[in-house]
Symmetry: C2
Subunit: 226 residues, 2 copies
């Protein structure tokens, strides 16, 4: 499948690497490819530069947001929460119309430091804001409840016996995402229902952030025991 990924951070690269390894044709979208490629050396999190990362992932092409969105039969939003609506606007509704738009972002607000609060919650969610911004896209929320390392390698934690959630208003779009999740190694996938359930998965982030501190690692997840 042709997949466009918006965002070149840890989530975007992890998803791009995994999906390319699974045989998908991946285009990684950024606001300004020339500026992105001009950054050299590890970033502030110690990740290699995008330029160096691309050398290790020869089948992945870097492009502007609209180009990446146009390329994709599925588009993945892997931007940071505070940049998401701008990135979606930049990608352009015409390039997203009718497509599955997998939203992984969380509306984390670090303006008051750590731990972050949420910039939207309770009676709305980032995923619903995206859906309102591009009504013709078929938004599915998933994978926002785990760290990138778990996201693309669920078996690395507890033998893979833990849970990932999906929600969205379009059943066929959810089925497409569920198929992709299975290919990525996810076995316990719970469909919560319509896109308003993104409120629940995004509001799970505050306990996730504190668990990361308590456990001393982001490599964990929850299993829904029933």
């Amino acid at each position: 499948m042709k997949i466009g990924i918006l965002g070149t951070g840890a989530v975007g690269r992890a998803m791009a690497g995994k999906l390319a390894a699974l045989g998908h044709e991946v285009v990684l979208g950024t606001r300004n490819p020339r500026e992105t490629l001009a950054r050299t050396g590890p970033d502030r999190r110690g990740q290699p530069s995008v330029a160096d990362w691309l050398k290790q992932h020869a089948t992945v092409r870097l492009a502007e947001f609209p180009d990446a969105a146009r390329h994709g039969e599925m588009v993945v939003n892997a931007t940071s929460g505070d940049g998401t609506l701008d990135a979606i606007d930049s990608a352009g509704e015409a390039n997203l119309a009718g497509k599955v738009l997998l939203d992984i972002a969380n509306p984390l607000d670090f303006s008051s430091g750590f731990p972050p609060s949420l910039s939207v919650c309770n009676t709305d969610s980032l995923a619903e804001q995206i859906q309102r911004a591009v009504p013709t896209a078929r938004v599915v929320k998933s994978l926002n409840t785990v760290n990138t390392s778990v996201m693309v390698d669920p078996a690395a934690v507890g033998g893979g016996d833990h849970t990932i959630f999906v929600c969205g208003n379009d059943a066929a779009a959810k089925a497409t995402v569920v198929g992709l999740l299975r290919d990525m190694g996810w076995r316990d996938i719970i469909d919560l229902g319509d896109l308003s359930n993104a409120r629940g998965t995004e509001m799970y982030l505050p306990i996730w952030v504190r668990l990361m501190g308590t456990l001393g690692t982001p490599r964990f997840n929850v299993k829904v025991v029933r």
Copy 2:
């Protein structure tokens, strides 16, 4: 231990029954015992009346909020979220001073129907509101992430291999609650840290409510897999 429980609903009765069975001296608090006892027949959820319940639990005494709080070396807030601050005010700070105050309530707001939103979240929590209302009490948040049936019988789900959270500002108070949780059958207990972590456990409720709908039962919990 002498334990006062505020609230005669499903949570208050489940906790009262369990703690009495464990040998604690339990007083169940309500706003107006005469009015509470005057209600006959099952309530709207099909539970027996408090009067009938008390006949089955002869060691549990019904009393006014201040009396129940005064009795307890530990006090349990098992009121509904929208009644909590009134109940705490009614119990009286003098009756709560220096005591462990285990808060199980969730700030669910059903004013716009189902599913509920939260009446406080993100940068504050019900537990922190309680702590500010009674600064001399030692508030510990726990057990608010599970249904009453799981709360008092964790082994009934998945053999008991799932997680419960505690948080609070007083280490000794948390140790007291953790001891009680172990007596109740809880094995995987995670201390998240100070009381601001109640934001995380209360904000978990929206996904809990939707999971209840998806799974068709409130008898489930999450295990933190790490």
